[in-house]
């Protein structure tokens, strides 16, 4: 194996253009190094990109733009970012401990494409789009179209994630990220759910976005459940219908952490808790 340091995006794209799938990008390394040490990946070259300062920037505007090197710690502690993206901040706080959050990046969390990626559901409910760059050019696509399967994305071997843009929380809306685990820290989500709900002046739901992780090969939005909430006041029968839509969209697995059936049975309750948090975050 070789180790290459990229100081600029152009340098990184040159190496990727030259080596393609034989190269592996290294940022904080909290996933990549574990996979390397376990023999799950065996890249010919590690391309270290942490030194590319341009990729660690945050810009808050009508859309928020995050560089892929923004760390979980920055997402969890930056006040302005936390106000615009409370669910994203909440999700970042649940990724490992401080040691993981200090160096682990949002770009890594997305590109690793774990079914349990905690930042994915909050990004999905913020209509996140990703920009992929290569020496051939750039493309921008919705995060919903980015994940293909467990640990698989649409990224070509010569491409690199260079930006994530997303909608800040609008006025009159609340959002939440709930992570179900067996303990309060250092947990991989049994189920993760992000919900963003907008309310009209009379308290009825006028917009709703719901996304899940750890219940399917990829994190995903559930439009059928979102539609069930629109126009409602989040009463029990509406939550029942939306919960049913969530179960229809989920295909969890049995593993050492929880059974598929348990995960399915938590969805309705998590939705209710998240919806209450959204409502309580809003003053009408």
């Amino acid at each position: 194996m070789q180790f290459r340091r990229a100081q600029t995006l152009d340098e990184a794209l040159d190496v990727l253009g030259e080596l393609g799938k034989d190269a592996r990008i290294l940022a904080g390394g909290t996933d990549v190094v574990i996979q390397y040490l376990h023999g799950e990946i065996a890249p010919e070259t590690l391309v270290h990109i942490e030194g590319i300062g341009d990729l660690a920037t945050v810009s808050l505007n009508h859309r928020t733009t995050l560089g892929p090197l923004v760390t979980h710690r920055a997402l969890a502690t930056d006040e302005a970012l936390g106000t615009a993206h409370p669910a994203l901040a909440a999700s970042a706080r649940t990724v490992g401990g401080w040691q993981t959050q200090a160096v682990g990046t949002i770009g890594g969390n997305i590109c690793n494409a774990s079914p349990a990626a905690d930042t994915a559901p909050p990004l999905l409910v913020a209509d996140a789009h990703v920009t992929l760059a290569s020496r051939r050019g750039k493309r921008r696509l919705a995060l919903t179209d980015f994940f293909i399967d467990r640990r698989q994305t649409v990224m070509d071997p010569d491409e690199m994630l260079t930006a994530i843009d997303l909608d800040p929380l609008p006025a009159g809306a609340g959002e939440a990220y709930l992570k179900l685990g067996r303990r309060g820290a250092m947990e991989v989500a049994l189920v993760g759910m992000a919900v963003r709900i907008g309310f009209a002046a009379d308290g009825t739901v006028d917009s709703a976005r719901i996304a899940l992780c750890s219940v399917a090969p990829t994190p995903r939005r559930v439009p059928e459940a979102e539609e069930a909430l629109i126009g409602s006041r989040l009463n029990a029968s509406v939550l029942d219908a939306a919960g049913e839509a969530l179960r229809a969209a989920a295909c969890p697995i049995d593993d050492a952490r929880a059974s598929a059936s348990y995960r399915m049975r938590t969805l309705r309750g998590l939705l209710e808790r998240a919806a209450i948090q959204c409502r309580e975050a809003v003053t009408l």
Binding site: E50, W98, Q99, V103
Partner: protein, 160 residues
């Protein structure tokens, strides 16, 4: 397997080093096997337990999953850097005074994470201490004595 050495320059506890390391070599290995700084412990080797915590540019990282070649120009601090002239640092002394260590294997990691916390926030609440320690596992003390050791410094009006 061919090993392609990588040159890397960084400091450890204020001492500059220039080394040739393997491309996949971890900081934990470099510290223990090359620099003979064995205070930093190997626990899980997958970033779960925090026994190997050191500070890189003042932030706690799990050295067992941190690639040494990524350290170019950066500053590393280990538990060896907390004491000087044969005297323990105040946080180390508080750990002794409050019985915050039993088998001691996790202790260097706890000390490093708490050093980072106290530099960032000199008077953390007990819940802030617990949250900062999410990534450090101790199977002996039950954590209470560790949190008390940190609190003792706050009660004394500064660092432990």
């Amino acid at each position: 397997m061919t090993v392609n050495g990588v040159g890397v320059a960084f400091s450890v506890n204020g001492v500059a080093h220039r080394l040739e390391v393997g491309p996949g070599e971890t900081l934990l290995h470099t510290l223990r096997e090359r620099l003979r700084l064995t205070g930093t412990k190997e626990g899980c080797v997958e970033g779960e337990c925090g026994a190997c915590t050191v500070l890189v540019d003042d932030k706690p990282v799990d050295s067992c999953i941190f690639i040494t070649a990524a350290l170019e120009g950066r500053r590393v601090r280990t538990v060896e850097g907390l004491s000087g002239d044969g005297a323990l640092g105040p946080l180390q002394q508080a750990f002794i005074d409050y019985g915050s260590t039993q088998c001691g294997f996790c202790t260097p990691g706890f000390l490093m994470t708490l050093t980072a916390l106290l530099e960032e926030n000199p008077s953390p609440s007990p819940s802030e201490v617990r949250q900062a320690l999410d990534g450090n596992i101790c199977r002996c003390t039950g954590y209470r004595q560790i949190i008390e050791a940190v609190a003792s410094g706050i009660e004394n009006g500064g660092r432990p």
